[in-house]
Symmetry: C2
Subunit: 325 residues, 2 copies
């Protein structure tokens, strides 16, 4: 069945297209009787003013662009997916659409955003995974496209007032994890990523703050974010020093540490992960929950209220499990 058009409404009401358009856009200029006739025709035909026409008129699409990374097969990718789900759940009742796009690097991402913006398909952006000196935030500010990032501005030349952002307080998460682990034994190790990633350094800081003077260098280990590398690194850790617990920068690292402990018969070693993924739940590992639903809510609040520079930190939550395996 063909959708009714402005012409159909005009014909039924016995007026011109321009009059129909006036009823829709500037009803005050139309005489009451005429307006009523047009409105009746609109109701009778079930005419819906097209979103495309509205966009053309208002130059607004009320649609948010969100980047979807290629699926990497990893354990922690689920956090970003949860964030996108939560954003979608919450954008719909606010009358905002979510358009997802793919891009393999920052350059391609900028080109994609430019095309979407030029085409009038999006008028807001939610960035994920900010990095030091992020080229995307500079470009978005330059072209004046409102945006909020999940991830704070990283790097010496950036400040928290650089743009609108929401992030998870990673240091608070590892601080809570470390404090919990210290309740079970004094020597709490930290398994993180190689230095230089803002997120990773922040999570290490939480461990260091909770350990205070006990933050010995032989308790700090780094590994690539794979299960096998983390397992090997934890085996080295066990071989070189006394360890009561291992607080990890991700659940991927935690699975590696858990495997090392379990194969060494060290079931008394507490392993705490970060991200609270289904893997941590299945293995019975304690883990820091990032609460991506809260992040999505805060991101939308900022976006709707104008995306003014400045940010807010979401407090993560330690989920304690008994270790069923």
């Amino acid at each position: 069945m063909r959708q009714p058009t402005v012409e159909d409404v005009a014909r039924l009401a016995g007026v011109s297209r321009q009059t129909v358009s006036n009823v829709l856009n500037s009803p005050a200029v139309v005489r009451a009787g005429t307006r009523e006739r047009v409105e009746n025709a609109i109701v009778q035909l079930g005419y819906a003013p097209s979103m495309a026409a509205r966009r053309l008129r208002t130059r607004r699409s009320d649609t948010i662009a969100v980047h979807l990374d290629p699926y990497s097969g990893g354990i922690s990718g689920v956090v970003l997916d949860r964030f996108v789900h939560a954003l979608t759940d919450r954008a719909t009742p606010r009358g905002l659409g979510i358009l997802v796009y793919a891009a393999t690097d920052a350059q391609e991402e900028l080109e994609r955003l430019r095309a979407l913006r030029d085409g009038g398909e999006i008028d807001r952006v939610v960035l994920t995974g900010t990095v030091e000196g992020d080229p995307r935030t500079d470009w978005l500010r330059e072209v004046g496209l409102p945006f909020v990032s999940f991830g704070r501005p990283w790097g010496a030349e950036r400040t928290v007032a650089d743009h609108a952002w929401v992030d998870v307080d990673g240091a608070a998460g590892t601080r809570a994890a470390t404090a919990f682990a210290r309740g079970l034994g004094r020597r709490v190790a930290f398994l993180g990523w190689p230095r230089g990633s803002g997120t990773g350094d922040d999570r290490e800081r939480g461990w260091r703050e909770a350990m205070g003077e006990d933050a010995a260098e032989d308790l700090r280990r780094t590994s690539l974010d794979t299960v096998q590398a983390a397992r090997a690194e934890t085996e080295l850790l066990f071989a070189t020093t006394t360890v009561d617990a291992v607080v990890c920068a991700s659940d991927t690292l935690a699975v590696g540490a858990h495997l090392a402990a379990s194969h060494a018969g060290r079931s008394e070693v507490t392993v705490v992960g970060f991200d609270n993924t289904p893997v941590a739940a299945a293995l019975g590992l304690s883990s820091v929950e990032q609460r991506p639903e809260q992040v999505a809510e805060a991101v939308l609040d900022l976006l709707v209220s104008g995306a003014e520079p400045g940010g807010s930190l979401i407090e993560p939550e330690l989920v304690v499990r008994a270790g069923v395996i």
Copy 2:
């Protein structure tokens, strides 16, 4: 910087808005010299005809609506997320956009699809998770909105020619899993979902076919799709009959079966999952990989070629692991 408009182009070329519009939409009606002047102005100003205007003209948005379920915290949800990622990766180079939307039930989903369609925001749909007598497929056919589903038409009154679909051959997956397990021991049990779900019954069929006469009823168990329920059910299975292996309808069930086996000291029992999630990889469990990337490719092929009724089954792949835990 303000984007150039049709008015800017008209002014620079010294023609009317209508002439610019003709150059863009019906160039044949414009004199060659005038056309060249307008085209030069378009290039000089970097004018991009807005997507909204094009949509209004063509009544096409080239945008696909895809439903995103609320995040359920489950183990297997990652398969649908992989599918959406793969769809996004592959739609972009084909010039198609992906708009994701939320809905908590079929009724809300229909209302949402209707609003997106009426607004001219989408002109194609990809459905996920078809159920018996799915109200969405009836409605989409009725309104003539092209769609392809990830999931075949289920139910007695539906045929494979009901609409365009792509699905994973679940029976082939559990057949392969069962054949593999039988190579290690004769008594292969099946842990599935309560009867009545098309997907679950299909996966059970694969086990039955591979077992032939050995498909004893005491080897077939059903459980809700939670780790704890599956663990309890597997403990009952171990208590009542001899079991060499357990083939499961999902990785969630497989984690439960694995926990039961591991706590009973039955490390010789082979557990095979379905979905090949990061949890299966972390636990070293063999699992059937659905290959959602292949599904996405096939769905887009069907959608682009006109979404004619009929479907195709993607052959899943058994990923064998040694069981590192």
